[in-house]
Amino acid sequence: MKQLMSAKGIFAISVVLLCALVPLISAALDNTYWPGVFMRAMIWAIAAISLNLILGYGGMVSFGHALFLGVGGYAVGILAYYEIDSGWIHLFAVLGSCAIIGLIVGAVSLRTRGVYFIMITMALSQMMYYLIISIDEYGSDDGLVIYNRSDFGLSFFSLDNPNTLYYTIFFCMLGALWLCARIVGSRFGNVIRGAASNETRMQAMGFPTYRYRLTCFVISGLICGLAGMLSANVESFISPDALHWTKSGELIFMVVLGGMATLFGPVAGALVFWLLSEFLPQLPEINGFRLGEHWHLIFGPFLLLVIIFFRRGIASLFEREGARP
């Protein structure tokens, strides 16, 4: 409880409340624009939470995490293409494919360190990107339109209802936060955090670190795959762009922007990142210079400044004076 009353806790609660209230507020204002923006932002938040688990806490800088966004999305897209609309089958396929791919990618990449790990995760995700592009049956680089959303066969729960879809994403985000918090504080989390700071020492103490890091990598992939599944349902569309390496880069940016190895950082990072990339393009023309069109000129320096002045990202704004870095 004490933790929730800190500046950080109050900030986190207000952000969550804001997310919870967006559909109500926009319904009152007769606006259909904002729920869509927040849904996408929350999906990115889930993906960023999953990346933070391995990158922030586990020290595994994966530059290919969008791979799981794409795999999750295509698991839904391909099943829907064959007119299999059962949400349960979708969910099973998403988790199954992400687990297998996570195991393979993790097993290979976790044998390397540092820059090599970054390059291998990126290379493997790019391999999947080109593999998907090469399959004409599933739309190649045009992507796949998903005509029917995941149908869980429940009368009171249909993702075709915008509010149901919105709150499904909202509760998935809360679930991901809860799971991440529990994992980080558990024995398993101890091993992951310890291995991030000194793996040799962990092994000398008796931890076979590889299997724990691999498990963590797979868990992270599963959560991210779920984000991909949600995204496919929101967009009713999936394309290879979802797993392009630039998307992995954006995910890293969200985590760093929000604050690595902080629980709520990825959510803050994803929301700020997403809201700015919605807002800035709408900036007006000044003296004939179309600011909105060149919004990256503002976006880039902003991200740079945050990272220079707040090493631990947005989360550090809310840390108490004198708190350890």
Binding site: R182, I183, G185, S186, R187, F188, G189, N190, V191, R193, G194, S197, N198, T200, R201, M202, Q203, A204, M205, G206, F207, P208, T209, Y212, T215, R324
Partner: protein, 248 residues
């Protein structure tokens, strides 16, 4: 008859053309403090790393507590009761002193595939950890992040972590490294107090400490052991004086 705790035969390790460990054979008797001394670059840390399993050996065999551990990984050796400390302090800076020791205890209490239960309030880990910290004199400092501890305290913490799981044998890689004379004397007397309870292989540059603690000393020069014996005979060994002690 005294039993042999660690038996090393013809251990080898080369880095490129450099023979860091060149056929080292060594016996450590149960309960003794066996010191390894030698000039810089003699291969002492490499030897410790090979024994702890962190460096793969090119050849030779290692038997620990009657079991051939030549092919065992570092975690497996640790769980058999062969613990080590590091020359460069490698405690976990973001963890509190207590969490550091609790982590060491966790390593030896079953698998760690426990995802949801909070570990920091797990008394199975924290209670013994608290006792261990008190043993090395860090009881008051339990909740301080290890990174904020003084250097000497970090060295103590390092020992507490190695001892946390009641190892059969301790590989100590320069426990007094970087310590002032006072801290060094404290560490020596602490190690003296646990002498006999745990077998120790001690690599140390501080000769005063070595001669106070060691039952036997082996002298390592260029990856080879040139002499083994009790402190008195090592002190008077001509070859050793020439190779090493003579420098002082």
């Amino acid at each position: 008859m005294s039993t042999v705790m660690l038996e090393v035969k013809e251990l080898r390790k080369s880095f490129g053309g450099v023979k860091a460990t060149d056929g080292v054979s060594l016996e450590v008797i149960e309960g003794e403090v066996h010191a390894i001394i030698g000039p810089n670059g003699a291969g002492k840390t490499t030897l410790i790393s090979q024994l702890s399993g962190l460096q793969r050996s090119d050849g030779g065999s290692t038997v620990f507590a009657g079991r051939d551990i030549t092919r065992l990984s570092a975690p497996a050796r640790s769980r058999l009761g062969l613990a080590r400390t590091f020359q460069i302090t490698s405690v976990f800076h973001d963890f509190t002193a207590l969490q550091n020791v609790a982590l060491a205890i966790q390593a030896h209490s079953g698998h760690s595939f426990r995802f949801l239960k909070d570990a920091s309030s797990d008394q199975v880990l924290t209670e013994p950890a608290r006792r261990r910290l008190a043993d090395v004199g860090l009881g008051e400092r339990a909740d301080i992040p290890a990174g904020d501890l003084a250097h000497g305290e970090q060295r103590q913490l390092e020992i507490a972590m190695a001892l946390a799981t009641d190892p059969k044998m301790l590989l100590l890689d320069e426990p007094m490294a970087g310590m002032g004379p006072a801290d060094s004397a404290d560490m020596t007397s602490y190690l003296k107090s646990i002498k006999g309870q745990v077998t120790m292989l001690l690599v140390e540059h501080d000769m005063q400490a070595v001669f106070q603690l060691a039952d036997r000393i082996s002298v390592l020069v260029y990856g080879r052991i040139i002499a083994t014996g009790d402190p008195q005979s090592i002190r008077s060994n001509k070859e050793v004086r020439e190779a090493y002690l003579g420098e002082d």
